[in-house]
Point group: C2
Chain length 303, copies 2
């Protein structure tokens, strides 16, 4: 079972607007809403691949209720711990020309709520084969939360997808895989993809998977280093492409898939996610078509 942790759950709202008058009044066309947060997106993709998943985290207020109802409606197993605050929304304004995202910060989490979550996590861990720790930390949760959760996993493989302190402090606890994108890697290490990935391995990560947008994925692992590229850039919505790569990685860790095959799968699934209009979905036909077209290149073995 893949256990995904989303501490800063989101209710994702998307407004389609023909064009936006900034500083003026705008009439919204279609409104789309659904449960979000990176861990929820990973769980959606993994479940669509046929994996057994459980999405946990913290959920509160009206938005927390909306998330639970939405996941119930699609049959995605979840067990979020209730909190006093209200889970955040994200708002995405989409015009034919551009996409603008507004991210609310999230509710203030009390020390008691954080401690109760750790107990909840410990119980849910027992059946987990892989643990996915994804996304931002809400206010009040200690900055080293992902290090704590990685340590509590007691040797079960952890995939960490975070930014800033949550990433830097989390790496020290020795996750199996860390998946930054190039910007996150640069913020954490001050370096480009290959030296940055080496730096995160030196800091404690067993393997580092760097998502490079249209350039695919770079993996620096104990078994070697590879870059996997899609045949051509995909037009679409890049939000959720990284979550699809994490879902593919989680599945591969369970089945002990070798890195080159894992990368092929993760790049094809990421590109197929770009083809789907919302994060957490992927275009199954594009996925099947892309799989044999991913180019894998071995890189000089990093020290």
């Amino acid at each position: 079972m893949i256990l995904t942790v989303t501490l800063n759950l989101a209710w994702d709202v998307t407004y389609e607007v023909p064009s936006v008058t900034w500083g003026g009044s705008n009439r919204v066309g279609a409104v789309r809403e659904r449960a979000g947060g990176k861990g929820v997106n990973v769980a959606r993709v993994a479940a669509a691949l046929g994996e057994d998943v459980l999405a946990i985290g913290l959920a509160g207020g009206v938005t927390g209720d909306l998330v639970r109802a939405d996941l119930d409606a699609v049959g995605l197993p979840h067990a979020f711990r209730p909190v006093q605050g209200t889970s955040r929304r994200t708002l995405t304004v989409v015009t034919p020309e551009q996409t603008t995202v507004f991210n609310e910060t999230g509710p203030e989490i009390s020390l008691g709520e954080w401690e109760a979550f750790q107990e909840h996590y410990r119980e849910r861990l027992r059946r987990a084969e892989v643990i996915v720790l994804s996304g931002s930390l809400p206010p009040g949760v200690p900055r080293d939360a992902y290090a704590t959760l990685t340590a509590l996993a007691a040797g079960r493989p952890v995939i960490l997808d975070a930014d800033g302190d949550a990433l830097s402090l989390g790496v020290s606890a020795g996750p199996a895989v860390v998946k930054p994108n190039a910007d996150e890697l640069r913020r954490a290490t001050g370096r480009g993809p290959v030296p940055g990935a080496r730096a995160l391995r030196n800091a404690g990560a067993n393997a580092v998977l760097v998502s490079l947008g249209h350039e695919g994925l770079l993996a620096v692992t104990p078994d070697g280093a590879w870059q996997a590229r899609p045949p051509a850039p995909m037009a679409g919505n890049p939000t959720g492409a990284g979550d699809a790569a994490v879902a593919a990685t989680a599945r591969a860790l369970i089945s002990s898939t070798p890195w080159p095959a894992l990368l092929r799968d993760a790049v094809a699934l990421s590109a197929a996610a770009v083809r789907a209009p919302v994060a957490g979905d992927f275009d199954a036909a594009a996925y099947a078509r892309l799989l044999p077209e991913i180019a894998i290149e071995g890189l000089p073995c990093p020290s």
Copy 2:
């Protein structure tokens, strides 16, 4: 009692953002939320002035529940008819430089829901001394809804504050006062303030009150025509200034206040509403200070 009707209720969400990267990702600072829609704002202002009010309309879904809870929390009397759809949100993005508003369209209202509302309105009318019909119509409600509700009022004074067809068709039923702003008046009549106001009187309105922003209010009535101006432009949030003018007008209709005194009050209250950060509030100290400073000018009697 002032009965306010808000057919397209709103849950108003405001995001404060230090600066916005259009086409990028933005972190939201403070989030403010409260019940909105023009009729709700009118009721808030009238209640703050000590008037007996009742806010009615259509409310559905999670946002409808949030509106009810918010009005309960502030003790504002309300009786919204439930509908199957979900009431709309409005989202206002405020930076130090500009304010951008996104208005959702609102839920689809069925014919049965609209008929049930008319029955509900008929019952609530009995205690009403003035009726306020404000704001946009949600999809499914007939475009002549305000004419229907004005006719059902059977001689009780109606104040109509609407735009487009809702205004043009509503005027024909003979409301006591119509309150367009200059843009709405131009859309409805193709004319400027004085000839446009005369045109709306010819179309059926007893009196026309035109809100002119920093220029105050113009009234064209059976008793004469006046313009009332504030002493100086007010810096602040103009959303809700028109609703404050409507609240002042409703109060004046109950007490049979003559037009010049009504205009003085409405302009001072509008300007004091601009000084308050959210629609439906006003700055009580500014209101008291401004009242004696409003200049009233009689205009040549319109034919």
